[in-house]
């Protein structure tokens, strides 16, 4: 295991432990929704009505037949990394959901958009080999990161969830 993934493993164990110990937050996490993160079935993402908009969008989007939530939103490099991101997202979102403290409209976080773009390119490597060969198209791609706007979603924002306006 690489240095980074072993760190991630430690971090994951840590977040999992906190999850178990952390009262109300972890109650929600365990009760249902958090666990959803351990499944690959889109239906369970929408255990949270808060994910409804994205779920519906995905079901009308161009990828409904070919990619589920986790194909795009979880890392597919190492299993550990996948589990780690699942764990921490599940933990964050459960906590946010319980505390209702998150900002709306919900927006993908920098870390997760890196995961996302890696997945676009994982599946479309052939299609985009030429345009990426001489320099990344570029995560971070989310304007909210105050960075340049490049990366797949700059033009394919609707790939995941259909037109958003």
């Amino acid at each position: 295991m690489t240095a980074s993934s072993s760190f991630r493993f430690a971090a994951f164990t840590a977040s999992a432990t906190i999850g178990v110990l952390a009262g109300a937050g972890s109650y929600t996490f365990v009760k249902a929704e958090g666990l959803s993160y351990m499944s690959d079935d889109p239906a369970v993402c929408v255990n949270c009505h808060i994910m409804r908009e994205q779920y519906d969008g995905w079901r009308h989007g161009p990828h409904r037949a070919v990619a589920t939530c986790n194909d795009c939103h979880l890392p597919h490099d190492t299993l550990l990394n996948k589990l780690f991101v699942k764990g921490s997202n599940g933990w964050n979102h459960s906590r946010e959901f319980t505390l209702q403290g998150f900002a709306e409209p919900i927006r993908i976080k920098p870390g997760n958009s890196q995961v996302l773009e890696a997945n676009c390119r994982r599946c479309h490597a052939t299609a985009v080999g030429d345009i990426t060969a001489h320099g990344t198209l570029g995560v971070p791609s989310d304007p909210l990161q105050q960075a340049d706007l490049y990366g797949c979603v700059r033009c394919h924002q609707s790939a995941g969830h259909g037109p958003t306006r």
């Binding site: 890696a118 390119r121 490597a125 985009v128 990426t132 060969a133 320099g135 340049d148 700059r154 033009c155």
Partner: protein, 458 residues
Amino acid sequence: NRNVTIRQAEALQTSFMVVPIDETTVDPAQWGKNFPRQYDGYLRTADKYSTTYGGAGSDGMPKSRLEEDPRLVTIFDGYAFAVDFRLRQGHAHMLEDQRTTKRVTERPQTGACLHCHASNTVAYREAGLRHGAPGALTDAFASSSAQQQLMKGFEEICKLPYEEATMLVSHPVACIDCHDPKTMALRVTKPGFLRGIDALAKSGEPLPHLPSIERWRSGDRAKPYDPNTDGSRQELRSMVCGQCHVEYYCGPKATLFFPWNKGLKVEQIEEYYAEYKFANGAPFTDWTHARTGAPMLKAQHPEFEMWSQGIHARSGVSCADCHMPYRREGAIKISDHHVRSPLLDITRSCQACHRFPESELLARVATIQHRTKMLMDRAEDALVQLIDDLGRSKQAGADASRLQAAFALHQKAQWRVDFVNAENSMGFHAPQEAARILGEAIDFARQGQLAVRDANGR
């Protein structure tokens, strides 16, 4: 850096180096052997076409702007542009069109003209070497020796008469002017741009659409801003075009430069020219108007400057996004090197980002361009009337001293009308800004007419 690893891991070798290319390889056909798809597009820039305001006609000589709008003959009276001024066409024609324009064949011009009409990265460096710059042509472009070669050669070639200088080049803009032959990464190579962007970075003007400059400004500024190392890929997708699609001074009285020291807005450039003095101490001017005797400024294709004022630039949308959209060829995507009007390929140029029908997107462009054209006609009419009034009172022998105010207004009005007219998107790149500039132009032109009447005690 994580991105880099992803890239190396995932970049599939879909193009093969069949011939070696390096800093000495000017001929696009050579590059084309390695990148046939891009080369095919590049060659197609020879195609002729017309949209309502774009292109230069589908056959024969590019259409004359002077015939399409005779007011321009009055407006440019006494300057080369009144002799021959045409609509632009594809990149493949740039060198030939320059060599054959009456502005060159009937007026003396310098080698500076070539800056934007030929592949001259190598020509400049060779000339630099001939004039004693250090190093060899094979030096990496980024190396200080290569940079010295480039700048020295640029200075020297600018001094040559056009006829001599043009013998030193043989291709329109080519791969090597925008690409690093080793990595194919984008790069800017034109001296005018390298100096212009440096001056712009040093200015106080906020540049939300060029975040790498904002970043550089907030740093220690130890090294000057370098687009090729500091600029992001997305910025370079516009900067490569900004090497040429800009306002410039290109004449015998000073080396070619981009007037960006105070910013990119029409009045900031005007202000810079107002303070600028030629080597001989004379104030800046492009020519003296034949009818009115007022000192004039000439605006040329400020696409980069106007785009900078628009919403697209602020939104990180680059020239290449619209003019070189990705196109699928077989299983893979490439950048369409057939640089042309996006209206000829709305699907790829616009619809990736705008989920509206092609007809609707065309209608949006038409609305913006029509508003701009109507207002521009209004401004040109006002300007021509001012020129007539000034001309008449000069003939009537009114002494120039009393007309100073009117002269100044003539220059301000014409500079603005010309800025929008010379810009090639008929307002699309920055719709409200184009209208604002024309509104000011109208005001200055009409005030000029009032000044003439008042000067003539009436």
